[in-house]
């Protein structure tokens, strides 16, 4: 597949999925909405890829749905509305059933729907100047899937605070590290190198074993 909104490639055993709409803070437009599913499927199917790094080009990591663009594309809006209503989204590795380990490398602002990719990955590293916020309620929207995912993985109060403060407060990378939302904070210029190093060490393990561990641990989140 030829991608317009993502960069997708394999570098030895490391698969890269990079948001590539830097002029729009990597917001998900109708095209990216479709390309994400294809990209996760491609990296999952490529036998040379044993670990996947997900990051963004430009200043932001990911800032959620590009609502303005969707408003101009009724078919895409209908499709995304249906997937939202039925919780049948195909945006993240978890939605798409990826069995390989996924490392999110948060390179800058991660806002709203961008939190999906933090909640749904296995390992999260961040640049020093990365920030996290959830502006949904400040524009009259409900925050649900991405904050539900975070609640299952991190201290809840920090997540409810982020959801209710909306656009008016950001969580720093340092605080996200303290809370265990991310496990490592590095200089922005070192982020991709560090993510690659982590991915290479994951790639040394037998893929079937990694896949079964991943399945076992994520299944544990399904218990009430």
């Amino acid at each position: 597949m030829t991608y317009e909104t993502l960069e997708v490639w394999a570098e030895g055993p490391v698969g890269w999925l990079v948001f590539n709409r830097p002029e729009a803070s990597n917001a998900i437009d109708a095209r990216m909405f479709v390309e994400l599913e294809a990209a996760w499927a491609e990296l999952e199917a490529d036998p040379s890829v044993r670990a996947i790094v997900n990051t963004g080009n430009g200043q932001a990591f990911q800032t959620g749905l590009d609502v303005k663009q969707f408003a101009t594309d009724p078919d895409a809006l209908r499709a995304s509305s249906r997937q939202t209503r039925d919780f049948a989204l195909r945006m993240t590795s978890w939605h798409c059933g990826v069995t390989k380990p996924v490392i999110a490398a948060v390179n800058g602002t991660c806002a709203g729907g961008g939190l999906h990719f933090v909640a749904d990955s296995d390992i999260v590293v961040a640049a020093e100047d990365a920030t996290f916020l959830d502006p949904h309620v400040s524009v009259g929207q409900v925050s649900a899937f991405e904050t539900i995912g975070l609640i299952k993985k991190a201290p809840m109060e920090s997540v409810t605070r982020m959801a209710l403060m909306g656009a008016h407060e950001r969580l720093s990378a340092a605080r996200a590290h303290q809370l265990g939302i991310v496990s490592e904070v590095v200089a922005a210029s070192d982020l991709r190198d560090r993510a690659r190093t982590l991915a290479l060490s994951l790639a040394e393990h037998p893929p079937a074993r990694i896949a079964s561990i991943k399945q076992a641990l994520w299944s544990a989140l399904e218990a009430p």
């Binding site: 509305s81 939202t84 524009v139 009259g140 409900v142 925050s143 649900a144 299952k152 409810t160 403060m165």
Partner: protein, 264 residues
Amino acid sequence: MSYEHLIVERHGPVGWLINDRPDVRNAMNSAMRDEFADAWTELDHDPAVRVIVHTGNGRDFQTGVDVGEVASDGIGMERYRQSMEDFDVHFTSWHQGVWKPVITAVNGICCGGGFHWVADSDIVIAASDAQFFDPHTSVGQVVAIEAIGLMKKMPVEAVMRMAFMGRHERMGAERAYELGMISEVVDPPDGLRERAQELGETVARNSPAAMAATKKALWGALETGLTDACRQGAQHLVSMWGHPDQAEGPLAFAERRDPDWQPL
């Protein structure tokens, strides 16, 4: 409505619920327990109130059930047996189904039953001299509901340690912050209420209806597994579709003005 053991105030969009038995460290007697049910409902039903702050008068936030009353009136803990067996209790915002944002501002000591209001609120801040401990096991009582609530929201080991150390160890505000039990430490301590009001006013700038639906989605997630929680979350998310706030939010943003939200 007038209260003997609580103070209910309104400051702009922020409703205040203040524990007011400072002479007994805000311990909860039967009358106060009943008043809580009314006070949460009063603030929840007032359309002018968009956010609720809960704190305590005097040196301490809250120290659980009033053991003086329990020990002296011949009824003892039996008075609470039926309500506990049925888990038919009404003294926190969660018990009362309050879907407005609730901010707990912990002043001084929060111990034992005081954790109910830490576990059951959305945002928790504390004064730098706040202290947390759970003395139940030191006085022959079982720790259950409030610790269960905390375990769902923060690292379990810290909660188990508090439960078993009883009154013999206290956790400071800084450690509670590190663990994510609270999200802010206010120093000096006497700035606590000012900061809580400021936070409340900030939260009040967001859509009341969107926040209520978000609260339902997030608190619902504690009741079930990840995928089921997302499916139920979708229902809350979709419940806002067509609501006037969904048009008003982007419009206000484009026009660089504060949104004019529908009251809840």
